[in-house]
Every structure is written in structure tokens, then in C-alpha cells.
């Protein structure tokens, strides 16, 4: 592997100052499951690798039924699904955290890293979009919030500006009647990259028969994880029915602009976009009704 210096940063300011000084020659290290492979294969260069796992904020995870979940950018997947309260409150997020690599990867890989890696096929991003997550970014000019659906801009590229890094992700507390789910298609049972992924959520009214709001996001069908507002809006105020779901599914499928590659053809991905959106909606509704 190429030579670089390693800094185990102690606070946010130290990370920002190193990033500001070294520009794109500094890389932020969280779990390292993407970065170290990219450095080894020469797809990324670095003079300095800044480890953010020692920061109080990036390694913290806190949940309360009133304020929701605050997830440090470096919290590995296993800590998320290993926390009973978090797992019970966010089963739709756990769907994704359980799917990223095998247990060896989940022991290191963070959702923050999954987000910053900005793969169009990233498993956690459609799920985070469905949960209306907000990213907190720190940089030379202080902090700013970025809605998770705006975080990725192109394959491997994010909104992060020079000197900025992702500190944490906030998910609102699930209200009664809220349910979410993430499903992906892969040609085997485990350890693969999504051919298509669908993250959805619904918020039902008190009767649990009417959808107050909904959110649909797809992975691996566009240059970045694809938020489809129209699909969610089509469900707003509708009584749960096959017709309502059909319409949301059609809109999600229409929004998908997949390519053909080694994992699947564009045509197959279009088909999967509909199948997975429908199944994920049924799952999210079932969870919402059980909430």
C-alpha cells in the first residue's frame, strides 16, 4: 500500500484543520472497509489518513423516544443492531445495517462511511432517506446540516467541501404509526452489492388504515441513491389499497434510470424497482400497523 501518515484525531477541530491543510491528500478513516481497499488498489491517494474513531461525537450513539437517534459517523453497524432500543425503534435501518458485508465488515463499517463512500448501490442510504435523516457536517466555517437525500451528488462524490467531514447523522424519533423497511435484490443470499435496493417508510393515521405521509428511495438505479418524492406524495392521504400502492410503485419505477452492468441489465433493474418498492411498502405498512 502507498505510504501515508496516520493521525488519530482527538476532536472535530483537529480533523478540520488537517483536512483544510492537506486538501484531497487527506482522507478520513472510519471503519476503513472502503478506504483501505481504495488506497491499496490506488483508486484513492492520501498523504495523511485521519482516524475519526477516537472523537467523542463520531463514536457516540444515543437514542431517546422523544429526540430520536443520533448516530456518530464512525459507529460501526454491529453497535447499531446490537443496541436493543435502537433495533426496536428502527427496524428499517437495521434491515440495511445487517446487509452490509458479513459480520467481519459490520464490526468495522459505519453508516457514515457508507454515506461518504457515495456508492449509488449503498445499502444504508435509501434506508436513511426513508427515515428522513439529517447529516451534520463540520468544516472550516463551522457546522451545517444536510438532508441525507442531498448528501451524495454523483458516484463516489458527496456535498462535502474541502475541509469538511461528516460528524453525525440524526434520525427523528419514530412516531406511532411509522414503519420503514429496506429490501435489496442480490443473486445470492449474502455478501453482495445490491442490484437494486428500496428503502421506504410510511406514517399511518390513528386508524392505521390511512397513509398520512410516505417516503420512497431506491438504490443502484441512478448515479446516486434516488429519492422519489412523487412516489411518497402519491400515497399521502390515501387509504391503504392495492391501487394506491400500485401508483406509488409506478412512479418509483418511472423515476429509476438504471444502467446495464455486470450486476444486471437496465431492464431487469427497472423490473426490480417495482417489485422491491411494492414489497418494501407492504413491509413498512405491516410494521407501522404493529407499532
Amino acid at each position: 500500500m502507498q505510504a501515508f501518515d496516520y493521525v488519530r484525531a482527538k476532536d472535530v477541530d483537529e480533523v478540520v484543520s488537517i483536512l483544510a491543510r492537506h486538501g484531497d491528500q487527506a482522507r478520513v478513516l472510519s471503519g476503513g472497509t472502503d478506504l483501505l481497499v481504495a488506497l491499496r488498489e490506488g483508486r484513492r491517494q492520501a498523504q495523511v489518513v485521519v482516524d475519526i474513531k477516537g472523537l467523542a461525537e463520531t463514536k457516540a450513539m444515543s437514542y431517546s423516544p422523544t429526540s430520536g437517534l443520533s448516530l456518530g459517523a464512525a459507529v460501526p453497524c454491529y453497535r447499531i443492531y446490537g443496541d436493543e432500543a435502537v433495533a426496536a425503534a428502527y427496524p428499517g435501518l437495521i434491515d440495511a445495517a445487517h446487509l452490509i458485508g458479513g459480520v467481519q465488515i459490520q464490526g468495522r463499517a459505519s453508516l457514515g462511511g457508507n454515506l461518504c463512500n457515495a456508492s449509488p448501490a449503498a445499502d444504508s442510504i435509501p434506508a436513511l432517506i426513508a427515515h428522513l435523516a439529517i447529516c451534520t457536517v463540520a468544516g472550516p466555517d463551522g457546522r451545517r446540516d444536510v438532508p441525507v437525500e442531498d448528501f451524495c451528488v454523483a458516484p463516489g462524490r458527496t456535498v462535502l467541501q474541502p475541509g469538511e467531514f461528516l460528524v453525525s447523522i440524526r434520525l427523528p424519533a419514530p412516531q406511532p404509526g411509522f414503519g420503514a423497511a429496506y429490501l435489496r435484490f442480490i443473486p445470492r443470499n449474502e455478501m453482495d452489492i445490491a442490484v437494486v435496493g428500496a428503502g421506504v417508510s410510511v406514517l399511518l393515521d390513528e386508524s392505521r388504515r390511512v397513509i398520512r405521509s410516505a417516503c420512497v428511495a431506491l438504490g443502484a438505479v441512478a448515479p446516486r441513491p434516488l429519492f422519489v418524492p412523487a412516489a411518497g406524495e402519491a400515497l399521502e392521504g390515501r387509504t391503504i389499497s392495492d391501487e394506491a400502492i400500485d401508483e406509488a410503485v409506478r412512479l418509483a419505477q418511472e423515476a429509476a434510470t438504471p444502467i446495464t452492468d455486470m450486476r444486471g441489465t437496465a431492464e431487469f433493474r427497472k423490473h426490480l424497482s417495482a417489485v422491491l418498492t411494492r414489497r418494501a411498502l407492504h413491509m413498512a405498512i405491516a410494521r407501522a400497523q404493529a407499532s
Binding site: 505510504a3 488519530r8 488498489e41 459480520v103
Partner: protein
């Protein structure tokens, strides 16, 4: 740049201090510096699990951990699995079930299975298969490995170890 860094760890219960370059993976240092060659380099990109070690109680691919990141950590490698005077039940059952052929993946499978049994001493077959999905074997077809792990889980020692780990 890239001066060598001093790293202090506990490996298999012993204090181990070493010098490494920041760019070196934990796997590289385990094998080339500390001569603990049980962990294998299979893919070197996190797909195969042949380099699995337990880092502060968490199963990891040592090819995807920088050695400098292990400073202050407890590490268990395949060399630390057997008891002083005999094999660990997992090792014994791998032999009895012929759960290996070429053997390259075996240390990773045993370390991975150890991490599973430490936190779930009575797994179902489904749980074993899911847990071991990140360990690749190109010889056995997995079935014998799964049976060996399930059989090892039945041993009283494994239950006692899991109890001790939980403290």
C-alpha cells in the same frame, strides 16, 4: 513522512509491542513482523475472511485494519484459540468432521466461529450459515464446516467460555 510508529497491543493474552509503518495492515504485521502466520492473506480486500481476528471482542478482517489502529487493543488470533494442553472444541470438531481440505480458509473459519460462539453459544444452523457468510471456502462446500461448528457448540466448554466472555 511514514515514520515507523510504536504500537502496543495484547495478542492472545500476551503484551506485544511492535513498530510498523502507518500503511501496514494488521494482517501484514501479524504475519511478517510478529510471525503469527496463522491468519492468511486470501483476497486482501475484505471478501474472504481468511485473515479474521478478534479485535477487542469484535470479529474483523485484519487486512482491513491498519496495525496502528490496533494500539491499545486486545487481539485474538488463531494461535490463541487452542487450550494449553489440547485443541479447542472447534478445532477438534473441524478434524472430526473433515471440515477442511486445503486449509487456507480454516484459521479464518475457526476464529470467526469462535467469535460467534462467544456471543451465541447455541446458534441455529441458519445463524451459523449467516455468520460464516463472510468466510469463503473453495474446497468443502461448507456443509462439513457448518456441522463442525454446530457440534462444537454442543460442548460444555464452549458454553462456559461464552459465559466468561459475557462478563
Amino acid at each position: 513522512m511514514s515514520n515507523r510508529v510504536r504500537v502496543q497491543t495484547h495478542i492472545n493474552g500476551e503484551e506485544r509491542e511492535f513498530l510498523c509503518e502507518p500503511r501496514q495492515s494488521l494482517l501484514e504485521v501479524l504475519r511478517d513482523t510478529l510471525l503469527l502466520t496463522g491468519a492468511k492473506e486470501g483476497c486482501n480486500n475484505g471478501n474472504c475472511g481468511a485473515c479474521n481476528v478478534i479485535l477487542d471482542g469484535v470479529l474483523v478482517n485484519s487486512c482491513l485494519v491498519l496495525a496502528v489502529e490496533a494500539d491499545g487493543c486486545e487481539i485474538t488470533t488463531i494461535e490463541g484459540i487452542a487450550y494449553k494442553d489440547r485443541l479447542h472444541p472447534l478445532q477438534q470438531k473441524f478434524l472430526e468432521h473433515a471440515a477442511l481440505q486445503c486449509g487456507i480458509c480454516t484459521p479464518g473459519f475457526i476464529v470467526s466461529a469462535k467469535a460467534l460462539l462467544d456471543h451465541n453459544p447455541d446458534p441455529t444452523e441458519q445463524e451459523v450459515r449467516l455468520w460464516l457468510a463472510g468466510n469463503l471456502c473453495r474446497c468443502t462446500g461448507y456443509d462439513k464446516i457448518i456441522r463442525a461448528v454446530l457440534d462444537a457448540a454442543d460442548s460444555a466448554e464452549v458454553g462456559a467460555e461464552a459465559e466468561a466472555t459475557r462478563v
